[in-house]
Symmetry: C2
Subunit: 363 residues, 2 copies
Amino acid sequence: MTTTALPASHPLTDGRTADSALVAALRGRRPAHRPVWFMRQAGRSLPEYLEARAGTGMLESCLTPALASEITLQPVRRYGVDAAILFSDIVVPMRIAGVDVDIQPGVGPVFGRPVRTMADVEALPALGTAGDRGFFDSGLDAIRAAVTITADELGHVPLIGFAGAPFTLAAYMVDGRPSRDHMGARELMHSSPEVWDALVSWTSRAAGLFLRAQVLAGASAVQLFDSWAGSLSEADYVAHCAAGSRTALMSVADLDVPRIHFAANAGHLLDAMGSAGATALGVDYRMPLDAAARSTGGRFPLQGNIDPAMLAAPADALTRHVKDVLARGGEAPGHVVNLGHGMPPHANPDVVKRIVDVVHERG
Amino acid sequence: MTTTALPASHPLTDGRTADSALVAALRGRRPAHRPVWFMRQAGRSLPEYLEARAGTGMLESCLTPALASEITLQPVRRYGVDAAILFSDIVVPMRIAGVDVDIQPGVGPVFGRPVRTMADVEALPALGTAGDRGFFDSGLDAIRAAVTITADELGHVPLIGFAGAPFTLAAYMVDGRPSRDHMGARELMHSSPEVWDALVSWTSRAAGLFLRAQVLAGASAVQLFDSWAGSLSEADYVAHCAAGSRTALMSVADLDVPRIHFAANAGHLLDAMGSAGATALGVDYRMPLDAAARSTGGRFPLQGNIDPAMLAAPADALTRHVKDVLARGGEAPGHVVNLGHGMPPHANPDVVKRIVDVVHERG
């Protein structure tokens, strides 16, 4: 981690994205219009995505720079959103590291060898350090290439770097596959806290190196995505997970990019997540943004939180809902409009486009 | 619903259970020791259950009075818990009504015909009214028989009647099977609120009649179990679900039994759930009981909320956790110790027994 500043040719330093609506809102300023993008905007809900990816596996797509870049750009072209987010998957850094993991259609990530003992953790591949040109760092070149191509194409539209959060990565590795309540992980943190801590230490370094590579290659912000932290009490989050998120997020702190932390179903964790290295917080659709602003003492720009289920509502009900989100988001010191969870696979692109138009007209 | 009082021979009126620790705590009194029982205490984690049920399907077991009663009694014998809860499943009333539903091992409830249109709702079987001796009421006789046998056997230990909450039942029926985020139900309530309301009206009457039959046959309290309401914002819960829960719970209000409402993952809904016909609230493991008491203005006795994952912790850590739950529960006007979610299938019965002992010694 020898670099401690962005290169002069980076979009955030060369004048391209520093004054974008997204970066301004994430830094607590009020841009001319409210910026909007959508979690999972790139991918399964777009016909052009299905066409581009036809015949290529999920992880292979993420690791093919031209294809990952094309998929990343598609929603910007179609919707005119205010940010792109790198098309990736939370297990991509593990795959790059050499962990036996694949994404099974209809199931999700499946690991060849679940991690449950100290020996399992010790058998995980070495990650090295940022830029050391070891196995992991070299493997990140495919990600760097995708980011560079994409940022060049995007011009003044910022690209957000992406990583899965250490807790979610560890939960998948303990259970070996998706599980409803992540009981394997939640038990391990109590039954063998030293094994749990060692595993989270590994996942947090993997996530951190993954984010850092994206930022140095041209990402103007990062989002750490915690699918499952909402299954934890605040006490367990603070005791067993916050340090990992902090490690991942602080791995880019010296580069001075906005750091968004989102966890699904985690209204009760927002304040603790803010204290874990974030500069902005994503809010699940269940917690109104004004309540989220209050519960975090107005310390953070907020991102969110249109209910994805509302995409199925009649147009006037959806518009009312979006205006309500805009009004409540106005209570936060900086507001980036987003969904309050990922884009549904069956979302109608015309409806999504209408949301962008409403936000840009009203926001 | 002609009966408006319990019969004189009911356990709650004939002196058997009115002064039990459970009923006292649920009525806001402080019994000599803190009562304890566990959600899903009857069933999959007990070897004697696996033996008793061997070769019998889940729903068939629930509908065979002697077997359902035996399974209900097993945890009382083994653990000395302060209440039994009827061994059942949330889809039992649908099966009794004649809906095409089965429980697939490893999957959960699967419906032959998902309910998504008004025609689908209108095609649901008629439920009749309490005690009308129609098809549904007659089908409830198997449940009445199980309750009567069990209550007789239990003596001074109260039996809790059980039903799945209208939202959860409706969510299963819309998706046709378990789903991670209940998007089908959450979309339907916005896209076709009149269809959704009609479906919830049906599920709430089914749940209400199911609870009422159990109470009249000998249950001394009821619990309405909402597996999935936590997927809703408070606004959606109030607008689209609370009325259904209220219908189900108020179906036994004239009989003056305590009415517990539990929803998983629903700290943000507790206050609204209290206003939906409950006299006591079950609290998920994620929200500390003292915070739950504050968030509901001290209006309700609370039940909970040992983290099921802590059953895997070393003995001293588990004991500390149980003592913490007892201390925080002391802030509520009445406290029934329970898990903060269902018993894990792999729970060690010796560990569960130790929790009961700690509660009875300390509580």
